[in-house]
């Protein structure tokens, strides 16, 4: 069981993963004076949290900025191992660059790369700390790396350092994530300790006060309520979690069990079906066990019917159709999607690809979200 925000392979989170993992590095760069290069755009992720880069800090060399962009591009393509190797190379040359180390840490903090090295994320974060001081982004990176290694006693004071000042040293989504992380420590390490549960509840409520649609906070709160037998109360949290991240299989799994226990079998069945399809889609990356392109397309088509607001999976369906050469179906599906989400850039892009494919242009290979 992983309580960490954004640590599963839901479609939304998979797509956000790159952005999320690099948020810390991007935030540093966004605030950093740079030599001869424009700021690195946040590339779709939430606005970076306030950076505390010292005014007198040395400007980030243009080649570092350029290299980080390349690393980010590799990561976005799912080429995680290459991305990590490029990060190592960058850090070898620019040992004093906090941005370089934080970028390397970001790769190893990937929620989706199965061969990530949590210990490397920790050591890179510590190097960033040495090079750039106790900036919120660096501390967030370090706390996450420590948490992943169950070093809760080390992670917790760092989280306190970020969360407890008035006002907290981070804000927005990042603050919500940190509250959830601290709640997760209470739920794991302090499961049997007096006050552990209460601390977890307080942090989850604080997370939801900051980010009312924080899906992990809702899911965790629901799990706690289910454990207490408060099934109806849990349902309201699950509903909000599902609304916020309809592609999260953990939510549908819990939703199905909760509804089943309440005797609402028909509603439960729908969530069971969604969980089952999502699980089949994400449970394996191997050639022997993962669904082949046709099965994948069939699963995504079923998900479209039973979980239509999972927009990311809708995009996946179009990509799967394109992969199978079903150009007309892909075009129609992108039209349908755009009817529901007018002018949504990813859908527009895929529609464009479909139209070009119809005209005979090759279809670019989709990002499979895995590998490396």
């Amino acid at each position: 069981m992983d309580f960490e925000p954004g640590s599963d392979r839901s479609s939304v989170r998979r797509r956000r993963a790159a952005a999320g993992a690099f948020a810390c590095a991007a935030a540093l760069l966004a605030a950093a004076p740079q030599q001869g290069a424009p700021k690195v755009p946040p590339a779709g992720q939430p606005p970076p949290t306030a950076s505390k880069r010292p005014d007198d800090a040395a400007p980030v060399p243009a080649e570092v900025v350029a290299e980080i962009r390349k690393i980010r591009a590799l990561y976005d393509e799912g080429r995680y191992a290459e991305s990590a190797r490029a990060g190592e190379a960058l850090c070898k040359v620019h040992k004093e660059s906090a941005e370089a180390w934080l970028t390397l840490a970001a790769v190893h903090l990937s929620p989706v790369w199965t061969r990530r090295r949590d210990a490397r994320a920790e050591s890179a974060s510590r190097r960033a700390l040495q090079a750039g001081g106790r900036r919120p982004e660096t501390l967030q990176s370090l706390a996450t790396a420590l948490y992943r290694q169950a070093k809760y006693d080390e992670a917790e004071p760092i989280l306190n350092e970020l969360i407890d000042p008035k006002p907290p040293r981070v804000s927005g989504d990042a603050l919500g994530d940190l509250y959830v992380l601290r709640a997760s420590i209470s739920l794991r390490r302090d499961a049997l300790a007096p006050g552990g549960r209460e601390r977890a509840v307080a942090d989850l409520e604080a997370a939801l006060a900051v980010v009312p649609d924080q899906p992990t906070a809702h899911t965790l709160r629901a799990q706690m309520l289910i454990a207490e037998g408060k099934l109806n109360e849990a349902l309201s949290h699950l509903e909000l979690a599902a609304k916020s991240d309809p592609g999260d299989k953990a939510v549908h799994h819990q939703y199905h069990l909760c509804l089943s226990r309440l005797g609402r079998r028909d509603e439960a069945k729908r969530h069971y079906e969604i969980w089952h399809l999502l699980n089949r889609l994400t449970d394996s990356n191997s050639a022997t066990s993962a669904p082949d392109p046709k099965e994948k397309r069939e699963i995504l088509a079923k998900l479209r019917e039973c979980n239509p607001t999972d927009w990311s999976r809708r995009l996946d369906l179009i990509e799967a159709q394109l992969e199978l050469g079903e150009v007309e179906a892909a075009r129609k599906e992108s039209d349908a999607l755009l009817a529901e989400r007018p002018a949504w850039p990813p859908a527009l892009r895929l529609k464009d690809v479909a139209q070009k494919a119809k005209a005979g242009e090759p279809v670019p290979a989709p990002d499979d979200g895995g590998g490396g």
Binding site: M1, D2, D8, K52, P54, D55, R115, R117, D118, A119, G133, R134, R135, R148, Q149, A150, K151, Y152, D153, E154, P157, E161, P165, R169, L187, R188, R189, A191, L192, Q223, I226, A227, K249, A250, V251, H252, H253, Q254, H256, L257, S260, R261, Y272, W275, H276, L278, N279, R280, D283, S284, N285, S286, T288, S289, A290, P291
Partner: protein, 604 residues
């Protein structure tokens, strides 16, 4: 200007906070080695398990690694079985052994599995002797003659099961292998006969687990084979980077389908997998442990299958009055397929028991490091809830890769404690993760009486401070003194024998159940015992497989704490008969034979 001042102030504060943090004392968590072992071994505060290195159980497991291939079975095997093969009332030990696989640099003859006879306590200590390849038996006319023991499987052995296949009151032996499995009939004279060829059990897959139960309720034990995959030595996928060969992820192998064999009597079996509806969903599952238990308390044995990196199965037995076995898969629906996050885990050794005293069975599976072992608590209705962390087992097991697991009441305080042996699957794991290592310490959890657990291993034994590569685990009363001992198989290591020496005034009761052999299996696998002693009621089942690749003492053993009143046992036999046995004295074993009228439900 004002904003700049604020930022500068904040930065100064941060710098101060940073400096303050740098001066803080080190974290309160003690330094942790990757193996989980303490820097120095400490004497246990409350000695509970003494390792007996002089017991004569000198079996040394070998996994015979092939560095150029790193075949997956090298990191999973093997198990042990506790059985009284010679009927002297003492548990003997059968040990599964591995052999060199194609490409193995060791050019030695494959060693056989080994059987050790329990000689009872000699000089106050356990004493075992290895049974030789040839033994002396009495001929019909009473004259002694030397004859082959009849065992000696030399394949790459995985699990050991010891069911009474022919209901003759003697445990037989079934050993699963990477390749064809082997069935031995216990001849009753101290020898065995290999009856594999006549049995109809044909299965060339790599079988990790086997489980026995009377699934069609016809009075004999049927066989469920938990298959993992197919090992094709000629076309084996070698994993690794550059020149470095590493063990592959389980995903590389295609899951092999599990099989169900109906016992037709006379050591003959029929494959009824398809007729019984055992069609695995999606891409199937790589079974590592199989436990038959009665999930829905309808008297029919269901099957929990712990799969490695695939969703687990719960095959609900829906066999009708015609006795034709039929199952339906419901793990996902009831919450046993995946963890609370909806994700498959690397489930390995497993056990099923009532851990929180609510008279319902809970399910536990050990997992890979950084997954934490999972405890599913039975809730209302047919459902299970992932209680891994709230039960206290999640955090201590998080960095451990668990294999053999077993719930038993080591201190007789009327709740079930938990032993888990560990060892990562990757012999080079530390190169990638300094938090984990191939060798890991075993863990022992004391039940706080309510289904929450505290890790107490180092307080109980030095054994829990020594890291190794734990795999098989069998628990039983080796010396018949009323407490439960343990035997642990570690990869490439001599067997570990742990004698329970915990001093307590708590009481206990043991039941040795004997089915009628016609409508219930003689060894009573599948029987459910509800024991009432004073204000305490407990429930246990006789399981035809549990832990990891190992066979347990089939006697049911209850600790009853300080209670001194006589106990009442209500036994629901596999036939469906319910028998109440009153006025059972404490602190001894009772043999209970199935009796009563016609079994209900018209079981065949």
């Amino acid at each position: 200007m004002r904003r700049a001042a604020l930022v500068a102030g904040a930065l100064a504060a941060c710098a101060a906070a940073g400096a303050a943090h740098a001066q803080q004392p080190p974290p309160t968590q003690p330094p942790r080695s990757a193996t989980g072992a303490p820097a120095t071994v400490v004497e246990p505060e409350h000695p509970a398990f003494l390792e007996r290195t002089d017991s004569g159980l000198d079996f040394v497991h070998r996994r015979f690694t092939t560095p150029s291939k790193k075949y997956l079975p090298e990191i999973t095997g093997s198990g042990i079985g506790l059985l009284d093969y010679d009927g002297d009332g003492l548990l003997d030990v059968y040990c599964a052994q591995c052999c060199p696989l194609p490409g193995c640099p060791e050019k030695v003859e494959a060693p056989p599995d080994a059987l050790y006879r329990n000689l009872g306590r000699v000089g106050g200590r356990f004493r075992f002797e290895r049974v030789a390849d040839r033994v002396t038996v009495k001929s019909a006319d009473g004259t002694p003659r030397e004859t082959p023991l009849g065992l000696g499987d030399r394949a790459y052995s995985m699990s050991v099961t010891c069911p009474d296949v022919d209901n003759d009151g003697r445990p037989d032996l079934f050993v699963t292998n990477v390749g064809q499995d082997v069935l031995y009939r216990n001849n009753g004279d101290g020898t065995f006969t290999d009856v594999t060829a006549q049995s109809g059990i044909v299965d060339a897959w790599w079988t990790a687990a086997a489980a026995w139960g009377d699934f069609d309720r016809d009075g004999d034990l049927d066989l469920y084979l938990g298959n993992y995959g197919l090992i094709d030595y000629a076309r084996y996928t070698v994993c690794g980077t550059g020149d470095r060969v590493s063990y592959c992820s389980p995903d590389v192998l295609k899951a092999a389908p599990d099989r169900l064999f109906r016992n037709d009597g006379g050591f003959r079996f029929t494959d009824v997998t398809k007729e019984a509806g055992l069609v695995e969903p999606d891409h199937g599952g790589k079974a590592m442990a199989v436990i038959p238990f009665d999930h829905d308390a309808d008297g029919r044995l269901d099957l929990y299958v712990a799969n490695d990196a695939d969703p687990n199965f719960l095959w609900r037995n829906v066999t009708g009055a015609d006795g034709k076995m039929k199952f339906e898969e419901i793990a996902g629906e009831v919450g046993l397929a995946v963890n609370g996050q909806g994700t498959s885990q690397s489930c390995m050794g497993s056990d099923i028991a009532d851990v929180n005293g609510d008279l319902r069975f809970d399910v536990y599976s050990a997992n890979l490091g950084k997954e934490a072992s999972v405890l599913y608590l039975r809730t209302d209705g047919d459902f299970y809830e992932d209680a891994t962390y709230k039960s206290g087992v999640g955090n201590p097991t998080y960095l451990f890769t668990g294999f053999g697991v077993r719930f038993f009441d080591f201190d007789r305080d009327a709740d079930l404690d938990l032993l888990q042996v560990n060892g990562h699957v990757l012999d080079d794991v530390r190169e990638n993760d300094p938090n984990q290592s191939f060798e890991q310490v075993p863990l022992f959890f004391e039940n706080r009486g309510d289904g929450t657990f505290l890790p107490v291993g180092p307080k109980l034994s030095r054994f829990f401070q020594e890291a190794d590569v734990g795999r098989g685990l069998a628990v039983g009363d080796l010396d018949g003194d009323g407490d439960l001992d343990a035997v642990v198989l570690e990869s490439d290591h001599p067997l570990r024998v742990l004698e329970n020496v915990f001093e307590t005034s708590n009481h206990w009761i043991g039941l040795s159940l004997v089915g009628d052999g016609r409508k219930s299996p003689r060894d009573a696998i599948g029987a459910r015992v509800t024991l009432a002693c004073g204000d305490k009621t407990q429930v246990q089942e006789v399981h035809g497989s549990s832990s990891y690749m190992s066979w347990q003492d089939l006697r049911v053993h209850f600790g009853v704490g300080p209670r001194t009143v006589k106990a009442t046992a209500t036994i629901r036999w596999p036939s469906g008969r319910v028998q109440v046995v009153k006025e059972l004295e404490l602190d001894r074993y009772h043999v209970v034979r199935e009796e009563g009228g016609e079994a209900p439900g018209g079981s065949r």
